[in-house]
Symmetry: C2
Subunit: 190 residues, 2 copies
């Protein structure tokens, strides 16, 4: 469990996301993203982590990798990995993940986005951390691969978190590092 | 620049580290570790990031990859990656990194370790963040690959940071995620 009152979910979107030129693309599913973010999600008490891709062959490949760690050789070789990956689900699109959460929790989740770019109306991590501790509604935090979530996803957000500011104007974290920091800011022990 | 008064350095050690059975080993250098941690280090203003391995062939391989991004095709394909990787240095062992820092800064760095295990005398991130803002001495934060830094490194530490506590007793972050969280806790904008 996180420090939140209601369950918190996480989704890594491989579509619709932007490439470095701002073009709408579908990125490939990366094994290390699944492992790293699943371990961070498990550490900070996220209920389920959705890997979202419209490409059926990539969902099938991810499923095979998950099974290796959940029930295959990996499950006895590394039990902590098995525990982290047991909470990973695959979904064809954002709405598929939302429906799964509705079926599981009985409630429609509020959508939370983050962006490396500054935006009007962004909520601070400290304020959202407090709000989560009181909210009875589940939340789904969305992470984008490539150069970030497409505008059509950003526009659906109920909550927009600010960028992760470092020490200067350079802000090019990997999605694995950004996920870890976001979860620590919201749920890490203080 | 970080929020620290003196420069802060980071080192990822591939030896001496422990394997899952607590045995002393040398791990392989992983390309994604270099990229992810270099990007996090650059974002949070770390002066230099040392990739430490005693294996000369792996240092040579890492050097070739760095050159691809610094001066080769990658330098024009992705300028932000070039910027992050320009601060990566290779060292054969911890003492090599310390000597490089002494040569650069004119001072011997204080060694900082982190551990996933709880330890007596551990300093909190909040306290160390404040201490760094006042300290005139450079610091070198050490990260271990595999199952963590060997006791012989832990014993040399001047400062020991506590584990990154999540929401429960599961604490198996990747070194990439741990590095991101440590730097955010010490230098992220608040």
């Amino acid at each position: 469990m996180t420090g939140a009152k209601a369950p918190v979910y996480l989704a890594l979107l491989h579509h619709p996301v932007l490439d470095k030129n701002g073009k709408l693309v579908t990125t490939a599913v990366t094994n290390i993203d699944i492992h790293d973010i699943a371990r961070s999600a498990r550490t900070f008490g996220v209920e389920k982590f959705f890997v979202v891709t419209p490409i059926e062959a990539l969902r099938a490949l991810a499923q095979r990798i998950l099974e290796h760690w959940r029930t295959g050789f990996g499950s006895t070789y590394n039990e902590t990995r098995k525990e982290a990956l047991s909470r990973v689900l695959l979904a064809p699109d954002l709405d598929g993940a939302i429906v799964d959460i509705e079926n599981e929790s009985g409630q429609r989740p509020r959508l939370v986005v983050t962006s490396a770019r500054k935006a009007a109306g962004a909520v601070s991590y400290a304020d959202f951390r407090e709000a989560l501790a009181e909210s009875p509604v589940p939340h789904l935090i969305l992470l984008g691969t490539g150069w970030g979530l497409a505008p059509e996803v950003m526009e659906r957000a109920d909550i927009r978190l600010g960028p992760i500011d470092g020490a200067g104007d350079y802000n090019h974290l990997s999605v694995r590092a950004a996920a870890a920091i976001i979860l620590d800011r919201l749920f890490g022990a203080r």
